[in-house]
């Protein structure tokens, strides 16, 4: 065992950190640190800077921009990006659709999409969830009927993050009715400009608009936009689950939040002592969160260092729930540094993000507190993860 980063890994971390600090504009890092939503062009700007250094898609195949870096190095990169308040490369692009096209797409699809996905010249959003297919994703209904050289697409996707900013959407669609609901699902790429596709906004409780509903009414989609084989969509979606786990624990992000809560509590007045950080109660919670973070960092590296398992991998579920819960705990702590000033730190209700910017350097905290509830809901809720751990892993209540 080698329980610490070796010299090469430490040098790599320094190199990454120096690059990020030198090249990502301060205004972008400041906005990320304060958890204010970024304008679209800032996200693109940041991803293009990362991509120019080979930092956007190191986990991809080499011919499409990947690097021959160990998983440990990739995890270090992901952590440094988050920790230094650099916007993550758009996950829908680089961890979801990119690897799917790279693994299952046609040569044409790879040529057409992968460079743009890596460079965020093409912005993809994820069309999996439907009004009646959330945790039970396989019950999805959106249909794509093959008619000659195209599909006729009807149905509705919901909770589609960034659909209003995106150029394309990748969808799980039903291409045939089969005995098992996991069968007959296919993976389709759809240009959001297609007639019959309509994106409508869903306002969320953090005061912003990131979520959308996407309605498809007789949208005609070229058959060449099918990824892989018809009816194999579910397998491709599951393939994703076992893939990029180097950033799944969000450890860099939790660290950034905890560094911030420690800093803010050091400046805030306390109840029992001069500063809030000196308050036994707050300090104990902050410290417990830091202890959990350290464990999570190690869990993250254990997962990274182990070979991916196909199917239910307990480590993935543990990493996802622990990572999400720690982000939530850190958001609780951030909220609790504000005392009565939480009320006027700034909340984007009824005003656009532009006006909301910079009201107060803590203006993003309340939004972040509310929106952090999502970490235990999306991408397989904490209840679903625990069902996996209890059922597939511990085999509770099942015959051996």
């Amino acid at each position: 065992m080698e329980l610490q980063f070796n010299e090469g890994e430490r040098a790599f971390r320094e190199e990454v950190r120096a690059f990020l600090l030198d090249n990502i504009p301060e205004r972008i890092r400041q906005a990320v640190y304060e958890e204010r939503p970024l304008p679209r062009d800032w996200m693109i700007e940041a991803q293009q800077i990362l991509n120019s250094a080979g930092y956007a898609v190191p986990h991809w195949p080499i011919e499409w921009g990947g690097r021959v870096w160990s998983p440990v190095k990739r995890a270090i990169l992901a952590q440094e990006i988050d920790r230094n308040s650099v916007p993550k490369p758009l996950p829908f692009n680089v961890t979801l659709i990119g690897p799917i096209i790279a693994a299952f797409g046609t040569e044409d699809q790879k040529q057409r999409f992968l460079p743009g996905i890596a460079n965020l010249d093409i912005w993809f959003c994820q069309g999996f969830s439907e009004p009646n297919a959330g945790s039970d994703l396989a019950s999805l209904k959106m249909s794509a009927i093959r008619e000659g050289d195209h599909y006729r697409v009807n149905g509705r996707k919901i909770w589609t993050t960034y659909a209003h900013e995106a150029d394309w959407i990748f969808c799980l669609v039903r291409t045939s009715r089969e005995e098992r609901k996991q069968q007959g699902i296919s993976f389709l790429l759809i240009d959001l400009e297609t007639p019959g596709v309509e994106v409508s906004p869903i306002q969320s409780i953090d005061g912003f608009h990131h979520l959308n509903e996407v309605q498809f009414d007789d949208a005609i989609v070229p058959a060449e936009n099918l990824v892989g084989e018809e009816g194999k969509g579910w397998d491709y979606a599951r393939y994703l689950l076992g893939q990029e786990r180097t950033s799944m624990g969000n450890v860099g992000f939790s660290r950034r939040r905890l560094e911030r809560s420690r800093a803010l509590a050091g400046e805030a007045a306390g109840e029992r002592s001069e500063t809030l950080l000196g308050d036994a109660d707050f300090l104990r919670r902050q410290t417990w969160a830091e202890i959990r973070l350290k464990a999570l960092e190690i869990t993250q590296m254990r997962v990274v260092a182990s070979a991916p398992v196909q199917g239910a991998d307990p480590k993935t579920s543990i990493l996802k729930t622990e990572g999400g819960e720690l982000l939530q705990e850190a958001a609780d702590l951030l909220l609790d540094t504000m005392g009565p000033e939480a009320l006027t730190a700034g909340f984007p209700a009824g005003i656009g993000p532009e006006e909301f910017y910079g009201i107060d350097e803590r203006s993003g905290i309340l939004s972040a507190y509310f929106s952090s509830r999502k970490y235990s809901i999306f991408g397989g809720s904490n209840e679903i993860q625990r069902n996996i751990l209890a059922g597939s892993v511990l085999r509770l209540g099942r015959k051996r």
Partner: protein, 361 residues
């Protein structure tokens, strides 16, 4: 002991519930209209003594009112203008209470200051005597429900001690920075630059003002607990309703034991909050120090329950819980604001700690 409501209390609860419920059912809800209805129904006068023009309602009546406000997510500034500012006017025996009771004027109490958390008793805002009366300079933060039509009550340090100043709306030297609050209401930061007021703008007696404010604040904190309880109960109802209609995996999600147990835990958290709040209500006539500790114990536990209930209500709703169109979010937001409004968990637990705990109480 007897925890039953009297006949009059039942009637009051029904009346308020119906009135605010009607407003809640209105798509174009108007907090101003709710305030006017409260006025019309005598609810603004409810907590004040009869010899001051009030109806002589006690803490129990106020709590029924506040529970209904919480349950219906009413944005009427009752807590601020009746229970805080109005109570200060009443305790100080000021004539201006009449303006509140007849609807001519709404008042707001400016308690907190930048970077000082909940230390309202030692303000950095100062007032000096001058030829015209007093000159006030300083800043207050996070005054809920304040708009430019409101009169202000401003605690300031003076050479004579803590003085409360009553400022009419629009007075020169006062600037309001009104911001949207996370619960759909507004709150303001207020700046005072050499604000000149006449001698009779000073309310109360400097030697007694801290105790006066503490008494008003304790009553308001107790009332805020009732609002949180009303909001939590409704939020749990909404959550249970949703769990019983939402289907996944061919069953209503309310049939999944993990969610059943969570909802049961939410119920336990709410009942805990209700009991400690009843305890605090029973201590309102106790000596000031014991009263304050009881109120702090209540708010601390109500805060803790609110956080659990609010967060878990969103969890049980799944994605839709994050959408503004779903009512759960608005309850979660209001509960979160109530957690910080009149002392957060840290503040109130510290107060109970300082008193030496509750076993002797």
């Amino acid at each position: 002991m007897n925890f039953d409501l009297s006949e009059d209390q039942v009637l009051l609860a029904e009346m308020v519930g119906r009135m605010l419920g009607d407003h809640a059912a209105n798509d174009r809800r108007d907090p101003g209209a709710e305030w006017r209805d409260c006025l019309g129904q005598g609810l603004i006068a409810l907590p004040f003594a009869e010899d001051q023009g009030g109806l002589g309602g006690g803490h129990e009546e106020v709590m029924l009112m506040m529970e209904a406000i919480g349950r219906n997510l009413s944005q009427t500034p009752y807590l601020q203008s009746v229970l805080l500012a109005g109570r200060v006017l009443a305790l100080a025996g000021r004539m201006e209470l009449g303006d509140l009771l007849d609807g001519a004027q709404r008042h707001c109490l400016c308690l907190y200051e930048p970077g000082q958390r909940y230390r309202w008793a030692t303000p950095a805002t100062r007032a000096e005597r001058c030829a015209e009366g007093w000159s006030i300079t300083g800043a207050k933060v996070s005054v809920p429900d304040l708009d430019d039509t409101c009169a202000l009550i401003v605690p300031a340090a003076t050479a004579e001690g803590l003085v409360l100043f009553l400022l009419p709306p629009g007075i020169s030297g006062v600037t309001l920075d009104i911001r949207p609050a996370p619960d759909g209401r507004t709150a303001a930061n207020v700046n005072f630059a050499s604000v000149i007021v006449p001698v009779d703008a000073a309310i109360g007696d400097p030697a007694g003002n801290e105790a006066l404010l503490a008494e008003a604040l304790d009553g308001a904190v107790l009332a805020s607990c009732a609002e949180s309880i009303g909001a939590m109960e409704r939020l749990l109802d909404l959550t249970v309703e949703y769990c019983n209609i939402r289907e996944q995996f061919g069953a209503v999600i309310g049939s999944f034991q993990a969610l059943q147990h969570r909802a049961a835990d939410m119920l336990i958290a709410i009942e805990r909050a209700r009991s400690i709040t009843i305890y605090a209500a029973s201590m309102m006539d106790a000596p000031a120090a014991r009263r304050s500790v009881a109120v702090s114990a209540a708010r601390a536990l109500v805060n803790r329950s609110s956080r659990f209930v609010g967060q878990q209500a969103i969890q049980l709703h799944g994605g839709i819980g994050l959408a503004s169109e779903c009512a759960a979010g608005a309850y979660f937001q209001r509960l979160t604001v109530l957690e910080t409004l009149l002392g957060d968990t840290e503040h109130h637990v510290a107060a109970v700690e300082r008193s030496g705990g509750l076993l002797a109480a």
